[in-house]
Symmetry: C2
Subunit: 522 residues, 2 copies
C-alpha cells in the first residue's frame, strides 16, 4: 500500500539528489538557456491597472501644465538648450517651457520595445512590452554582510556581486554601479566597473553616467566587445540618468544622456522624487511631476538621435514626517507605481521601476516586508526593467550580501508568479479527480507523478522543514541561511569564457584612458 509518507518519498527522491539545482535545471529544460534560467520573463499576467482613464488624463494634463507654465531648467548644457530651441520650446535663460503635446509628439520616434544585447547572445534581454528584466541594486557606497558588518565597498565587493548575479538563474542583468568600489581612484573607477561586468558576467550591463567622458568611455568599451558597427545599430549598454528633481536637469546628466542616445544606446531616465522634499507630499502631484520630468528627458534623447532606445523611469519615494528621514518600500510609492505604469503604457515607452526597497539596516523582517511590497509593485505595474531587484538595504546606502541572496531567491518565485495560472486539460486535471476520487490523496497519482517536476516553486532560502527538524539543525534564521548561501555561490562561481583578444583590448584601452577629473566624487 502506498501511504502518504512513502508516496512523498517517491516524489521527493529525485529532487533530493538534485538538491540546489532542481529549479535551475527545470528552467533549463523549459527554456534551453545554457543552464542559467530564462534570459528574461515574458509575463503571463497583465499589469495591474488601478486608475480610471479620466484621472489618468487629469494627471497628464497637470504634467502638461507644469511643463508649459512652470517649465524645467536645463543647466550647464548649452547644446541641450539649443536642441530645445530648434524643436520649438520656449527658452528663458536655462528655463525651458513646452507647449502641451509637444513632448508626446517627440516621443513618437522612441521604440516601444528593444533588445539589449549581451555578449552571450542567449542572455540578451528584451526591454518593453510584456517583458520583465531583473537587475541588481545600484549605487550604494557601503556593503554589508553578517560577518563583517557595514563598511565601504571595494572592487572586490563589486566583483563579488557581479559573480553572485551571474550565478543566480533568477536575475537577468548584471546591473551597473552595484556598489561604489572606493578603493579604485575615481578617475579610473568607471573603467574598472565596466570591465568587471564584461569579465565576470556574460549578461547585459550598464555604463557610467557621472561625466560625459565616462559615459563615452563606457560605450567605447562596449564597442571593443561588440564591434563599432554593431553598437551603432543595436543597444548593448544602458546609462541610468537622474533628474535633479524638482524640475531641474543638470548638465552632467543631460550630457551623459545625450552621449548614450548619440551612440544609439538606451538612457534610463529617472526622476528621484522624495515626496515632501523634491516633490509635493501628495501622490498625484508627485506622479504628475515625475511624468513631466521623465517625458522631457526621454524627448531629449529623441532630439539627439531620433529612434534611439530610451526607458521611462520611475523612482517615487516618501518620507517619515515623524523623523524627517526618507522612507522606502512604503505604500504610497507602491500604489503610485501602478499609476506610473499606466502612464508609461499610454506613451508606449518601456518602463523602469525600482525593486526591493527598504530603509532597514539589517536583512530582517522589516527589510523583506518593505522589499516584497516594493518589488511586487514593480512587477504589478508592468515595469520592464526592474533596477534594485536584489541587495538593496538602508535606503540605498548599503548593498547586503545576505539580502542579495534572499532577493534573488524571491526573483525566482516571481518567475512562477508572473507565469500566472495556465489553463489546459493537463492543468485542469479532470482525469486526476477521476483517478483519486473523494477522500483520497494525490501523492502517488499518475497526474502528480507526471507533473511534479514542474510543480511548485521551491525556494532555496526558505526553510519549510518541520519545527523539530529545523530546531535540530540549529534554528537558523533566514539571514544566517543566506549568509551560508552566498559563500557557497562565490566558492562555486565559474567565470564565463571571454575572448582573449577582447580582454587584452579592454585592458589596453583602460591603460590609455582615465579622465582628468581626479578629484571629483561623482
Amino acid at each position: 500500500m502506498v501511504t502518504a509518507e512513502t508516496a512523498i518519498d517517491k516524489i521527493a527522491q529525485p529532487s533530493r539528489r538534485e538538491r540546489g539545482g532542481r529549479n535551475a535545471r527545470r528552467e533549463q529544460r523549459a527554456h534551453g538557456a545554457q543552464g542559467m534560467g530564462r534570459p528574461f520573463i515574458v509575463r503571463g499576467i497583465p499589469p495591474y491597472d488601478i486608475m480610471a482613464e479620466e484621472n489618468l488624463v487629469r494627471i497628464e494634463e497637470t504634467a502638461d501644465r507644469i511643463l508649459a507654465e512652470i517649465g524645467i531648467e536645463f543647466r550647464d548644457d548649452p547644446v541641450a538648450l539649443e536642441l530645445w530651441r530648434r524643436a520649438g520650446a520656449e527658452i528663458d535663460g536655462v528655463l525651458v517651457k513646452f507647449e502641451p503635446g509637444m513632448l508626446r509628439e517627440l516621443l513618437a520616434t522612441a521604440p516601444a520595445e528593444f533588445t539589449q544585447h549581451a555578449r552571450n547572445p542567449a542572455r540578451s534581454v528584451r526591454v518593453g512590452g510584456n517583458n520583465v528584466v531583473f537587475s541588481p541594486a545600484y549605487g550604494s557606497p557601503f556593503v554589508m554582510d553578517l560577518d563583517r558588518g557595514r563598511r565601504y565597498g571595494t572592487i572586490e565587493d563589486f566583483r563579488n556581486f557581479i559573480k553572485l548575479a551571474q550565478s543566480s538563474p533568477w536575475l537577468h542583468h548584471s546591473g551597473g554601479t552595484i556598489c561604489e568600489p572606493v578603493d579604485v581612484p575615481v578617475n579610473k573607477r568607471h573603467l574598472d566597473m565596466v570591465y568587471s561586468h564584461i569579465k565576470y558576467s556574460d549578461r547585459a550591463f550598464m555604463g557610467s553616467v557621472t561625466a560625459e567622458s565616462r559615459a563615452e568611455d563606457s560605450i567605447e568599451m562596449a564597442r571593443i566587445v561588440f564591434g563599432r558597427d554593431f553598437v551603432d545599430r543595436n543597444c548593448v549598454i544602458l546609462g541610468n540618468v537622474n533628474v535633479n528633481s524638482p524640475l531641474v536637469w543638470d548638465g552632467t546628466m543631460t550630457l551623459a544622456l545625450r552621449a548614450y542616445a548619440r551612440a544609439n544606446q538606451a538612457a534610463v531616465v529617472v526622476p528621484f522624487i522624495l515626496g515632501g522634499a523634491m516633490g509635493p507630499v501628495t501622490n498625484a502631484g508627485a506622479i504628475a511631476q515625475s511624468l513631466a520630468e521623465t517625458m522631457a528627458g526621454c524627448a531629449l534623447t529623441q532630439l539627439e538621435r531620433p529612434g534611439a532606445p530610451v526607458i521611462f523611469g520611475n523612482f517615487l519615494s516618501s518620507m517619515s514626517l515623524r523623523s524627517g528621514s526618507p522612507t522606502f518600500g512604503t505604500p504610497e510609492p507602491a500604489v503610485g507605481s501602478m499609476v506610473v505604469g499606466q502612464l508609461a503604457r499610454r506613451l508606449r515607452l518601456p518602463l523602469r521601476c525600482s525593486g526591493n526597497f527598504t530603509t532597514s539596516k539589517l536583512p530582517d523582517a522589516h527589510a523583506m516586508n518593505e522589499g516584497t511590497m516594493s518589488m511586487l509593485a514593480a512587477v504589478h505595474c508592468g515595469a520592464n526593467f526592474i533596477l534594485h531587484s536584489a541587495g538593496f538595504l538602508d535606503g540605498l546606502l548599503s548593498m547586503s550580501y545576505e539580502k542579495f541572496v534572499m532577493d534573488a531567491d524571491f526573483c525566482g518565485a516571481l518567475h512562477t508568479y508572473l507565469d500566472g495560472v495556465k489553463v489546459d486539460d493537463n492543468q485542469l486535471a479532470l482525469d486526476a479527480f477521476r483517478e483519486v476520487g473523494p477522500g483520497n490523496h494525490f501523492f502517488g497519482s499518475a497526474h502528480t507523478l507526471a507533473n511534479y517536476e514542474t510543480a511548485f516553486w521551491d525556494s532555496e532560502v526558505a526553510d519549510n522543514e518541520p519545527f523539530e527538524k529545523w530546531e535540530a539543525a540549529g534554528s537558523a534564521d533566514a539571514a544566517t541561511r543566506a549568509n551560508r548561501r552566498w559563500k557557497k555561490m562565490l566558492a562555486e562561481y565559474e567565470a564565463p569564457p571571454l575572448d582573449e583578444a577582447i580582454d587584452e583590448a579592454l585592458i589596453d584601452f583602460m591603460a590609455r584612458t582615465g579622465d582628468a577629473m581626479e578629484d571629483a566624487w561623482y
Copy 2:
C-alpha cells in the same frame, strides 16, 4: 531662511509630540470611529483581474464536471443528504452529484454583502462588495515570543492576542480560535474563547465549529449579548468551516455549518487544498476543485435557510517537493487567489482569503517575505474577509507575538495602499509647483504644511532613522522592536466597557453549559 533641516523640524514637531498616536488620530479625525481607526476598509483600487473570461469559464466548467461526474461525499450528516435529495441532487450512499448549474441557482439567494454586527456598533463590519476586513490568525496550537520561545498556547495567550488586536487601529475583527488555549478543558474551551472575545474586545468575532453543540453554544452566547430577535435578523457571529478536501464534507463541519445558517449567521466555507496532497499539483485543477467544494458548502447553507449570509472561502497552498513539507506564502497560491477572487465575484458572494502566511519558524526575513506576498495577494484578489491577517507563523502551527505586531503594522500600511491614488486639485498640487519652482524644495511650502498631517503612512515598527542613530540606539532588528511594542501595547490595554448584566448572564450560561465531549480533541 528656512533650510531643509529647520523645515523638517517644523513639520515633524507636532508629530513628535504625538509619537505613536499620529496615525490613529489622523484616522480618527477622518473617520470618527472612537479613536481606533476605521471599522473596515472600503477599497479605493479595483481587484486585480489576471485571467481572461474564456479561461474562467473553462475552470467553472471543470468544477461543474467534478460536481456532476465525480461528486462530493457528505459523511455523517443524514439531514444534509436529505436536503440535497429534496433539492434534486443525485444521491448514492454518501456521494452526492450535482447537475451543472444547480449549485449556482441555489446560491442566488445568498446575499452579496452583509453586515456583521459588533457589540460596539461603531465597530460593525461590512462583508462583501468593496469592503475589506482584517482578522487575526486562527487555529495555532502553539504560541511563541522572543523571550520564551515556542510553547503550547494558554487562555492567557488567547486573551493577550485579543487585547493586542483590540489595541490595534489596523485590525477590524477579533477573530476566532486565535490560538488553542490548551489549559482549558476541551469541553469548556469554546465557551471561554467566545467569552474572551466578548469580554476583552468590542469588535465582531467568530464562534466554535468543532461540534454542532459548540456552534450552538457560541450562537447562544451571541444571543445573550445582542438579543434573540436581533440575532435572528442580523449576522453577529461567523463560523469558519473546512472542507475535508478532496471532495469530502465531514458531518462535524456540515452540522456546524447548518447550525450557523439556521440561526441566520454566516458560515465561512473553506476548502483546505494542499496541492499534491488534497488536490492536484496543477494550479488550475486545484482552483476548479476549490470552486466545486466551496459552491457545495455555500449552497448547503441556502438549503438550510435561504438568504442566510455565507462567505466563499479560499485556502490554496502548495508543498515542497524537495522535503514533502507544506509550504505557505509561495507564488502559486498567491497568483491562484487572484483567479479565485474573479470566480467569487462571478458568483456574487463575499470572499474570504488567508493573509500573512509563512512556514518560517521565526519572525524573520523569510516570514515577512512570504507573509507580505501572501497578504498582498489577499488584498489584490478582492477578498472581503482576510483571516490570518496577523500573527501566523510556522505553517499555522505557531501564533507569534512579534509577528502579530509586525503584521498589524503592515495592515496599517495596507489602509493607505487600498485608498489608492486620489486625484483632485489639492492632490495634483499645481499651486505647489508654482510656489516652489524648479530646483527648490517642498519642505516648508504652503501645500506641504497644509497636507503633512495626512501625508504618508508612518510605520510604528520600521526604523527609518539614519544608520548611525539606529546603531547608537542599540542596532535592534525588527523582531526586537516588535517585542518591545507588544509588551507596551499589553501594558497600555484598556478593556472596552461591557454591560454588567450581560457579563453575568454569560458567566451563568457558561457555568450551566459544557458539552459531554470531555475526551474529544476536535
